[in-house]
Amino acid sequence: MSEPVLAMDVRHPADGVAVIDIKGEVTAACETILMSAYDEANSRSAKLIILNFEGLDYMNSGGIGMLVTLLVRANRQHQQLAAYGLSDHYRQIFELTRLDEAIAIHDAESTALAAV
């Protein structure tokens, strides 16, 4: 319900791969921004979409729900989702919510790319 404090950039480091750099706060208020970034990532027919959380400042439960929605959209397009740059705290949240069973978590972009 509050104003989003988030910026997202999309990169294409390899064929079929898009990286979404997330900077700021991930809450339910950011849905439009995240889905726009996803659409941009999708514009080059990415088969793997990597979420870079190195710039993540804050995420609440609304943000987790939004990632579930993103996951559904990606699965519908037969795309894989991966993530890197999560702090230990958020890595544990991914494990607690069992998001890690659907979004592969890596330590760095290089290992995420190597998993293609």
């Binding site: 319900m1 509050s2 339910a28 400042d57 804050y58 995420m59 609440n60 439960s61 609304g62 987790i64 729900g65 579930v68 929605t69 996951l71 559904v72 699965n75 519908r76 702090s87 230990d88 705290h89 958020y90 544990q92 949240i93 494990e95 607690l96 919510t97 069992r98 998001l99 069973e101 659907a102």
Partner: protein, 245 residues
């Protein structure tokens, strides 16, 4: 404060999240009501079976109470606002991150369905529950209050799939019961805070029409079946207790 492994500072809401647990544990005081959640894992929407639904119930309390005071009261008296037919066994810690609370739901067939929730997240403006294996639904439910422009807007946001094929068969009935239940809850909350004629609205979106057939085996945890078995075997347990086993 920093995370030990990668030196990233903990976020300002770190204390609002439940600590990681692999299997839910209920306290000794709650064990009688929590038999269906002891040792269970939580289930996110991706671990469920049926179509994925996003449902929102809303009401506006005007200037009757500010959002933080409302959430504080709601956390303290959560089960008191439920309509008859369901019991929320509040943990000693109340609605606090990591708390596990058994729930009893009158099925209307002489049986109480026993399940529960984990408090995944709780701060001054919202709190979120996750459901365990065997619950009717796999997913998250968030209760929040805010004052975007004209008064205190209270919302219940639900992101769920049914947990197994049997529950999916019952979805049309469960959906109507959910409507009745959460709309009555919001009406009770509003009335308690001096808004007896609050208008509660509901909206539903199907986020994913696909059923996750790989999770059909969730039925082995079905709390309805297990509650029924628990009920019919009660005399055996009583007999064992009385004979000292």
């Amino acid at each position: 404060m920093t995370s030990p492994a990668n030196d990233k500072p903990l976020p300002r809401n770190a204390a609002s999240w439940a600590a990681k647990v692999d299997h839910l544990q209920v306290s000794a005081e709650q064990s009688a009501a929590g038999y269906n959640i002891q040792g269970r894992r939580v289930t996110g929407p991706q671990q469920g079976f049926g179509k994925l639904w996003q449902r929102t119930y809303s009401t506006n309390l005007g200037d009757a109470i500010d959002p933080k005071a409302l959430i504080a009261d709601w956390k303290l008296h959560f089960g008191d606002y439920w309509p008859d037919g369901a019991t929320f066994h509040t943990a000693i810690t109340g609605v606090a991150p990591g708390a596990v609370a058994p729930i009893g739901i009158d099925t209307g067939a002489g049986m109480t369905l026993a399940t529960g929730i984990l408090v995944l997240y709780a701060d001054d403006e919202s709190f979120t529950f996750m459901t365990p294996e065997g619950h009717m639904f796999a997913g998250m439910i968030t209760f929040e209050a805010a004052a975007p422009d004209d008064g205190t807007l209270v919302e219940i946001k639900i992101l769920i799939r049914t947990n197994d094929p049997l529950y999916e068969l019952g979805w049309p009935v469960m959906r109507r019961r959910e409507d009745t239940f959460w709309m009555a809850t919001l009406a009770n909350l509003a009335a308690h805070h001096g808004v007896p004629d609050a208008v509660v609205t509901e909206s539903t979106t199907c986020v994913d029409r696909k059923r996750l057939w790989s999770n059909w085996g969730n039925v082995r945890h079905n709390a309805g079946i297990r509650s029924g078995l628990h009920m019919v075997t009660a005399p055996v347990r009583a007999l064992r207790r009385s004979s000292g086993h």
